[in-house]
Each structure stands twice: as structure tokens, then as C-alpha cells.
Amino acid sequence: MLRTPGLPCRAATRNAPFLTFILTALLALTAAIPAAHAQQLLFDYVGFDYESPVIVPGQFGGLGNGYVGLGEVPVLESPLVSDQTNYEYTYVLTGLTATNRVVAPPFIVIQYSGPGTLTVYEDSRSTGTAFDYGVNPPNGTAPSSFTDGTAILVGNITNFVYILNTSTGSGSYDANFTAVGGTQIANIPVGQRAGWTFAGVTGNSTVSIPQGYAHQVDGQTLIPLPTPAHNTSWGQIKRKYR
């Protein structure tokens, strides 16, 4: 490394302490990266999905169809702050349009353009409006009763992909989630704002899915765990790698 072309050996020798310093710092940073980029739960959500607008009627994920998911958020984890007793928490996932549809019976894989938006709202249980799915959304209460209140977290959704098995009637989706706004955005350290979301979806319930909705959804959003760190001196770090 020190015998870089054009760099005289004497200069290299003179710079060796500096290079050692840099190398040590890099090693220290490397040591701080958690194995497998461990994730932590940010929030858990349950709800239903539907399509709006519908460009291709009768075909879920038809090219140009818009995807909308909405529901309640029964679990919010630190660093978000919640009070489920006095507030209801809802989510709305929107802004996604089906752009590619791979059909391999019984599977259908739908890819969506983005970025979409996944927003978590906080609404007073005493003075706010309770969420109401209604039927055949969009309708008088959905999504409006899910978007009232305070947007506490707004995330951009990209690479949204939906996998459906038409034989079993169920499937899943996942996407990148990047926190970009909301009243609690500052609670999430900048280095932890790029996470992901996933959910299981099913159309198999005969009684739980309100008329006009396509599937019920159970999902969660995860963000990277904070990088563990502790105070130390350069001397201690250098000794560790000698």
C-alpha cells in the first residue's frame, strides 16, 4: 500500500503514522457495523386494501391501477411515542401505480411505481373521528376517517412489489420505507430512517373483509437498529488492532 507509484519511499515512511491512524479509524468503524444489519420493529399495522383509480376493472394489479392500503396501527415502538388509550393510530398507504405484472400461474407478481407514501396518523379518541372502513372505498369515511388527526410519521415507499397466489387466495408485499416527515420524524436518528415494510395479505376471509375491499393486510415496518457505540481513546483502539 505504501509503494504507490509516484510516491517516494521516504515520503511514504514519513506518512506512515498518518496512514496507520486512518487505517485504525476505518477498522474501528468496521467493527461498529452490526452483523446482518439487524432490524427493529417501528410499527405494526392491520387493515385492508383496495384499488383506486381502477384502470383495468376486475383485475387486481391491472396496469395503471392505483393501490391503497389503510387500517389501524395497534403497536408503535420506540423511538416513536404513542398513547393507545387516548389516541387511535391509523395508516394510509397510497400513491402507488401498477406498472408491471408478471403472471406465472398460480402466481401474479405486481410491481408498482413510486414513490408512494405510508403515513401514520394520531387522532384523539375523545374529540376525533373514529376510523370507519365503510364499503366500496373510496367512500364517505375511507380514507377520510383514517387521514384525520396529526401525521406523526410520513415515509416514502419505493420498490413496492405485491405477490399473490390465486390458488390459495393469499400473498404478501414488501417495499423500501424511508422516513421523511411527520411530527415525530426527529425521534428517529438520521442513520435509522431507511428501513423496509412487509405484510401478509389474504382474500380468504368470508366475513372479515368489508365489501369492496380486496384483501386484509397484516404488516409491519422495520428500521435498522442503532449502531452500538462506547467512548474510547485512540490509544485503546490502536492497541486493539496491533
Binding site: 439487524a38 406465472a104 393469499s170 401478509g200 366475513v207
Partner: protein, 234 residues
Amino acid sequence: MIRMIRTTVLALVACALAAPSHAGLVIDWDPAYFYSTTPGVTATNAPAGSTLFIVGTVSVFGPPLQFLNANDPTKDYTFYIHGMSSNGTTPTAVPPLGTAYVTTYTAGTIELYEGTPRDAAFDPNPPNANVPSTFTNGTLLLSGTFYNFYTQTNNFSNFSTGNAEANISWTGGTLLPFMSPGGQPCPSLFTGGLSWHPGVVIPGYLFRHDGKIDLECPTPARSSTWGKIKALYR
């Protein structure tokens, strides 16, 4: 014409009355983890005869179990699903993306417990000293047959995600009457998403599962006549 309209309206009203008395989320968890005691099982291949076990901690209860507090610091609510074995994994090519995999299982048993203290621990490499024992200590609140279970995975999703689903017939436990309004146990749907992303799976487990159980009570019905129904709404 008027008679036809009236008949249609009455039929619609009768249908509206048939809405289920209990439908929707009754148990939500975060997380549950799946594991096998058969060597060689992976997220995309569970050879026929291989075992599967699920342990989980409940995070939210909905009606008719909303009186249970999943966040009670002195208790934990846990579940254990056992007795299933794989019927084999079926791959399906999804060109140009990759391959999807569906694995079906024989029926097993689901058990829901209320335990003190709050000690459930997803220790690595189950079975071990705490798994499943810390998920099966306490009072058996519900038990039932877990059937039609399957997992769906693939090798092309961005975050290694899929889903799992099953039906449940409740048969026992101290809270069985709550799941049986009218004396007839309601069937339930076990559903939710799976991930085998290395950032969320504990060593020795196959999947992390985010899911729920919906209670799907059949519509209570009794024989009647059009005359009686019409009389009801006059």
C-alpha cells in the same frame, strides 16, 4: 311491481341482518418465530415429513377477548403451535424473477397461554431450555385444531418475504365460551406475513411471522317465513 320491490327490499334487509356478530381481529402478535427440529429445512424447502413449530407473544387482543391486557407487565400471553409435518414443498417458476415455493402441512394443535411472570424468550437454536417451555407455562386459555396450514416463500422478493395461513377450530381452554357465542365454536383464520431476512431472524429459526387470528363466526340463522319477516319491518 310494488310487490317485487318490497320482496327485494325485505331480502336485502334480511341479508343485512345476517352480518356476523363477531368478525375481525381477535389476537395480534409481534413476533412469532417458526422453527423445525428436522435437519436441512430451509425457508424454501421443507422436505415431506419435516416438523414445524411456532412460538409467539401476543401484542394486542380484540373482541371478544379485549378484556385481556397483552401489555400487563406481570403476565405474558403466548402461543405454541405444534404437531405439524410438511407434505413437501412445491416450486413454481416465476420467470424472469425466480421461483415461488408453497409448502403445505398436516394438521397440528394451537395453544394460547397466560403466564406469570412475563418470561417468554426467543432463545436461539430451539428447542432449548426456554423454547417452547416459556411459551407453554401458565393457564391454557384456548386450544384448537390448526389445519390447512401452508407457507408461501420465494427467492426473488427484495426483503425475503412471504406469508402463512391456516384455519383453526377451537376445542378447549378456559376461554372457549368466548369463542363460541351461541354455543357453537367459531372458526378462525390465522394469517400474516413471513420474513427470513437475516436482519430479523434469530439463529436457529426459519421465519419471523407478523400475523393475527380473526374470529369468523358463522351467521346465526333460524327458519322463518316471508310473512314473519315482513311483519318484523311493518
